[in-house]
Structures are given as structure tokens and as C-alpha cells.
């Protein structure tokens, strides 16, 4: 028979899984601690470690991604292409993604050039991309020089920016144009 302690831990593990499953945004450790009933952060970390390890095993399609004290469930890289069409929402808004693509393709690139290509809204996109850690900016005369970050490479499962360029050989076929407007 299960001890009471085990039962309590099972309940907490279940609660953690339920919370991560439902949350639309990454959950901070302190938020998790609160949901579990004001438990210690050490205990939260312990539960997160166990969950992360468990999901890392083969047979799971979802992994626990942790970053800067926040945790979030994500589809494993190997499966995303096969199931992406099931989720109507993506976590980077389309216009921001377009600006990111232009930066990555021209990497590094000045903010001034980006704005020429993408219009004034690109200033806001750069801010959002910096906040997400996908782009960093360095002063460069009167404008900023934009680079993609290691987090960018990790996010897309790339080993280098060259690999990205290799992947995105620009298509020329007709039906690509339809796809773009999706």
C-alpha cells in the first residue's frame, strides 16, 4: 500500500502536470509553488526535475522546457512537423516571425535596413524578439545591429546560422506563393 507521503506527492505531481497542461504561458516556479499550496521552491524544482526526466524517455511526444525559472510543456522537436497543423495558434505572431526571418537571413543586419524592408512596425517586432531572447541588439552608429542568439538556434534545433541558410533555399515554385499566405 502507498504511504500517505507518496499519495501527497502523487497529488502534487498530478497537479503540476495539470497546471502545465492548461497554462497558456510558461509557469514560474513561484506560481507552481503557490498552486501546490505554498510549498518550497526546492520541492517544486524536485518535482520539475522528475517530470522532465520522465518525459525525456522514449514514448513521450512532449517535453518539459525550462528557462529562467519558468517551465512549459512543448512538443518534442522530432514530432512538431507532423502535428503542427493541429494547433491553430503559434507562439510567435506571424508578422513578428517574418521580421525574425529577415533578420536571420541577413544576419547580422541593421535595424534601419530591417525597417526599410518591413516598415515601421518592425521596431516593435525587434523589441518583442529581444524580450523573447531570440535576437540581441548592439549599438551601431546611429542605428542598432541585430543578431540572432543561441536561443534562436536552440529554438529551431539548429547548430549554426549557416544551417538555417541552408534550410531556407528560397523556393521559386508557384504553389509556394499560396502557402505563404496561409
Amino acid at each position: 500500500m502507498q504511504s500517505q507521503e507518496d499519495q501527497g506527492k502523487d497529488r502534487d505531481k498530478g497537479l503540476l502536470e495539470a497546471a502545465l497542461f492548461l497554462a497558456a504561458k510558461p509557469l514560474s516556479r513561484t506560481k507552481v509553488a503557490k498552486i501546490l499550496g505554498d510549498v518550497s521552491l526546492t520541492y517544486v524544482d524536485c518535482l520539475l526535475d522528475e517530470l522532465q526526466e520522465g518525459l525525456a524517455a522514449p514514448g513521450h511526444g512532449v517535453k518539459l522546457h525550462r528557462e529562467e525559472g519558468k517551465a512549459l510543456l512543448q512538443v518534442k522537436h522530432g514530432y512538431i512537423d507532423a502535428v503542427a497543423h493541429l494547433a491553430p495558434h503559434q507562439d510567435i505572431p506571424r508578422p513578428v516571425l517574418r521580421s525574425l526571418a529577415v533578420i536571420a537571413y541577413n544576419h547580422p543586419m541593421t535595424q534601419a535596413d530591417l525597417v526599410k524592408a518591413r516598415g515601421n512596425k518592425a521596431y516593435g517586432h525587434v523589441q518583442e524578439l529581444i524580450e523573447r531572447g531570440l535576437v540581441r541588439a548592439k549599438e551601431h552608429g546611429r542605428t542598432l545591429l541585430l543578431h540572432v542568439t543561441d536561443e534562436f538556434l536552440r529554438y529551431f534545433g539548429l547548430s549554426s546560422i549557416e544551417e538555417f541558410r541552408f534550410h531556407i533555399e528560397l523556393p521559386s515554385s508557384e504553389n509556394e506563393a499560396d502557402k505563404m499566405n496561409r
Binding site: F21, L22, A24, Q74, V75, I80, D81, V83, A84, L86, A87, H89, Q90, D91, I92, R94, L97, R98, S99, L100, A101, V102, A104, Y105, A117, R118, G119, Y155, F156, G157, L158, F164, H167, I168, L170, P171, E176, A177, K179, M180, N181, R182
Partner: protein, 238 residues
Amino acid sequence: MEQIRIAEVPIDELMTESWEGTLERLTADMDPWDIDIAELAQRYRQYLDALRELRFEIPGRMVLTCSILLRMKSDDLLAACSTDQSDLIEELEEVVEETAAEWDEPIEPEEFSLPLLRRPRRQVTLEDLRLALTAAMTVSRRRAERLIDRMKDDEDEFSFFQIGGEDFADRLRLLFAKIKKLLSGRRVVSFFRLLERGDKEERIRRFFEVLLLAAQGEIDCYQEEFLGDILITLEGED
């Protein structure tokens, strides 16, 4: 004696009030030892009417209370002395309690929960990024093309003002005649009086013609204030 006005009772209170509470409210201004049953029955009916007007559901026990009150009223009116009112009140309490007991126990359904909405957001794939780049480039190309088209349009518009053609010389002559006519007896004429339609295209064309007449020395133009009206006089009139 100030009567209780249902309209002044907050809706929340009306809805949640018990039948005893309602009776208390409706008899608040009466002597507890000498309740006027006729008046109370009347008020109770008004109360039900008010509820109906507010489109509230009227629980059966309220209707029952009202009917018993009305019966008490009729008993009262029909030689009441022989009727033992305390019996009636007891009867009222019993029946109302019984009915109310049924009402106070709403049939609890099995508890439902609504679906907990999820908004799963998937991470962006490399393919998404590739399509985003293609789209960005297409948009950027379209923007450049639009810019070139606009510049071409500007050139076309400019050719419309080309100087030297017959029409243009004629137009200048007509305009000068019009200015002279408008000026007869006056010292200056406003640029705006030269316009017929007043749209942007006409304003630009007319302005261009006025500048040419000035350059040819036929007229003088000046503004009294910055960005103000253009005033036109015949050359040498000042």
C-alpha cells in the same frame, strides 16, 4: 402611514427574500396587534405584480401565500368574529412551510464543469520560418513596386502640366481674362475665387497657372499670412 413601495426595494433583496421577510416588509407600517388583512392582501398582490413586471419567476409558495392572504381577507370580511384567526395563521404557516421545504431543496444535478479552454500554442518550425521569409520578401518586393508605380504616376501627373502646348497657352489666356473680370472695380482677388470645383487636382493646376502668369509679369501674388490665402493683383496696381 407610509406605504412600502416595491419599486424602491433593491432587486437583489426582492429575489432572495423569504416569504416571512416579505410579509414583514409589507406590514412594517402596521400595528403588529392589528394587521389589516385586506390591506396586506392588496399589497401582496401588488408585490407579485411587481415581480412579474420584472420578469422574475414567481415561486409557487409566494402565490400560495397570496391566496391564503386573500382567503383570510374574505373570511375577515365575511363575519370574521366567529373565525379564529390564530387557526388560520397556523394553517398558513403550515402549508407555506411545507411548500417552502420543497422549494428550498433545489434538485442538485450532478455537478457539471464547462470545458476548460486550452489554447495550445505550438512552437514555430523551421518550415514556418522559411515561409515567413518568403512572405516577407514578397511583401517587401510589392512595397518597392508600389513605390516605383507611385513615382511613375507622379511623372504622369507632371506631364499633364507640360508647358508649351496650344491648350496650355489658351488656358492661361482664359485665366488672365477671368482674373481681370473678377478684379474690375477691386484691388485684389482671392486665389480661391479662381476655382470651380475646388478639388486638389484643380487647385494644383490653377496654382501652377497663377505662378506662370506671375512669372510672365501679368499679375502679382502675395500672402498676408504664412500659409494664408493667395491674393492676386494686376501687375503694377500697387
